[in-house]
Amino acid sequence: MPLLEAKGLTRRFGGLIAVNDFNIELGEREMVALIGPNGAGKTTVFNLVSGFYQPSEGAITINGRDTRGMRPHQVTSLGVARTFQGIRLWGEMTVLDNIRVSQHYRAGYSLLDCFLRTKKYMIREKEIERVAWELLEAMELKEYALELPRNLSYGLQRRVEIARAMSLKPSLLLLDEPAAGLNSADVEGLIKLVRWIHDTFPVTIWMIEHQMKVVMSLCTRIKVVDFGATIADGTPEEIQNNPAVIKAYLGDDTI
């Protein structure tokens, strides 16, 4: 059973077709890229998969479960986590708290437990904190745990965001332009980080990215969209030489 399956996924906004008959199947531990020119509908696909938009047509199944009608936090609890194009960390909370809060669904205790500080509450909170510290340690963010995100460099904030997504222990990680705004040193660091995550955790990574360096060095499969429709799908080598892809990005010779 594939981890993620999208069949005939379509999303319209009024007269605009943002995503048109998108199909994909993702298996375990894959590393796949979604590329295309700006405005091609890539983030919309992510929004559909993570439950923020409902599809106009088509279906999404995650681990066999149909996600139509689910609210985002429900989709998340199925094992999907994502990062955003801009950094969407919670600015007034420490890095540690950012990682704690994203484990909200694992809180699992009732309000009463919270008030009375029952055993159940204590155990759960300890677990949440343990996971948070472990993750911070593993991603080399431990020293920044009590900092506010705005005091960190952009590259570090990106890393915190990815750590936050990972704290959900997802089986599918959606990275929306993770390298955007990073300088070349940070991009190297990012590539290393993503590779490390992929090797260490049983997670499929699906990323939207413009920087070909990142895509080519990490991904085994690339899907190309333009104007909401798929125009190519294959290995990095196949994509690099695909005329349709070249045309989409660079235009062709005809005027």
Partner: protein, 360 residues
């Protein structure tokens, strides 16, 4: 109040309820106002609650239009400022109150009264001078508020919330400052316009009512023109979309904002004087409830949109009159707020409002 023909219609307005603000009364079928021409044969037309005759119905419509005009005029001020600054100017209702009081003092100064000799001008002349003077002075109050309190916060890039709180506090200061300075005694507005009553088949219309309704319509037309056809009007609309592009049009941001406040506040001043003429008892908290209601009306109509303010204002007028016609008048506010709340539940952005979507 049976058949008081020839009695000054002003008597009608002194029938006060326990609430602080005059309730849009039961239709004048109960109290045939000075029908100078026809003999007062009828007694008070006591309609059983819930049953409305055609005559009463049209009377209701007129009252609703009149009251709606006040709400509309005040709502316009809220909506203009919100459309330009995304700020709920909570002090606006109190600017309306200030306008009414300014009108009072100017009128008394010109006309004489309250034990003062004044300049002894005729009522008509007083009216002619008071209206523009009130509007100008009230807009000054609004602009002063903007310059001293809102602008410094804008300069600092302060969070919108802080400006809203400042507005709320400014309103409180105006109300209680008035109470502290002028005392709790209510002021009664002198009569500036001789009441002329026209009757059409049982429905009586005063010239004042007509003036109020016409004023609201004229103002609306004027504002629509300004906002759609003039450069500054278009700049006003543009600001809410892109603050930084506007100065490129050649008009500084501050000027646009000042113009917005001038327009909004002078409208509130106009509403103030018209209201004072219609319900001549002034007291410091008169702006509070009307202000809140006008604000809710503006939101229900879709805040930021001039048509929304007008529609919302008149809608509120109709709801209130409708409620009072059928139910005891103490339920008026309850129903009005409930209906407005209901509309917002169903259409949270208001009738003319456009939902703002966030892009992820």
């Amino acid at each position: 109040m049976a058949g008081t023909s020839g009695s000054p219609p002003a008597l009608f307005f002194f029938k006060r309820t326990t609430t602080l603000w005059p309730s849009p009364n039961r239709p004048t079928g109960h109290c045939p106002k000075g029908r100078a021409v026809q003999p007062a044969r009828q007694g008070p037309i006591a309609q059983p609650q819930g049953k409305v005759s055609p005559v009463e119905f049209f009377q209701h419509i007129l009252n609703a239009l009149q009251f709606g005009s006040f709400y509309a005029l005040i709502a316009l001020g809220y909506t203009l400022v919100y459309g330009v600054l995304r700020l709920i100017n909570f002090a606006h209702g109190d600017i309306f109150m200030v306008g009414a009081y300014i009108a009072y003092f100017v009128a008394v100064l010109l006309l004489g009264g309250e034990g003062m000799h004044g300049l002894g001008l005729s009522p008509a002349l007083t009216l002619a001078i008071t209206v523009p003077v009130t509007m100008i002075l009230t807009s000054l109050v609004g602009v002063t508020l903007e310059r001293t309190m809102y602008r410094p916060l804008r300069r600092k890039g302060a969070d919108r919330l802080y400006v809203v709180i400042t507005a709320l506090m400014a309103g409180l200061m105006l109300e209680n400052g008035n109470l502290a300075l002028l005392g709790a005694s209510r002021k009664s507005f002198p009569e500036l316009m001789e009441k002329v009553v026209w009757t059409f088949g049982g429905v009586s219309v005063t010239n004042l009512k007509v003036v109020v309704i016409v004023a609201a319509i004229v103002v609306f037309v004027l504002l629509e023109f300004i906002v759609t056809k003039t450069k500054i009007g278009m700049a006003m609309r543009g600001i809410s979309y892109d603050k930084f592009a506007i100065p490129l049009m050649g008009i500084p941001l501050d000027t646009i904002i000042v113009v917005t406040f001038i327009l909004g506040s002078s409208m509130a001043g106009l509403a103030g004087i018209l209201y004072a003429m219609s319900y001549p008892i002034l007291e410091p908290y008169m702006g509070a409830l009307i202000g809140w209601k006008a604000f809710i009306a503006a939101v229900v109509g879709g805040i930021g949109d001039i048509r929304g303010a007008i529609v919302g204002g008149f809608l509120l007028g109709f709801i209130e009159i409708g409620v009072v016609a059928v139910f005891p008048s103490t339920l008026r506010d309850l129903f009005a707020f409930s209906v407005l709340l209901g509309i917002l539940w169903l259409k949270p952005t208001g009738l003319f409002g456009v939902a703002q979507t966030t892009k992820i």
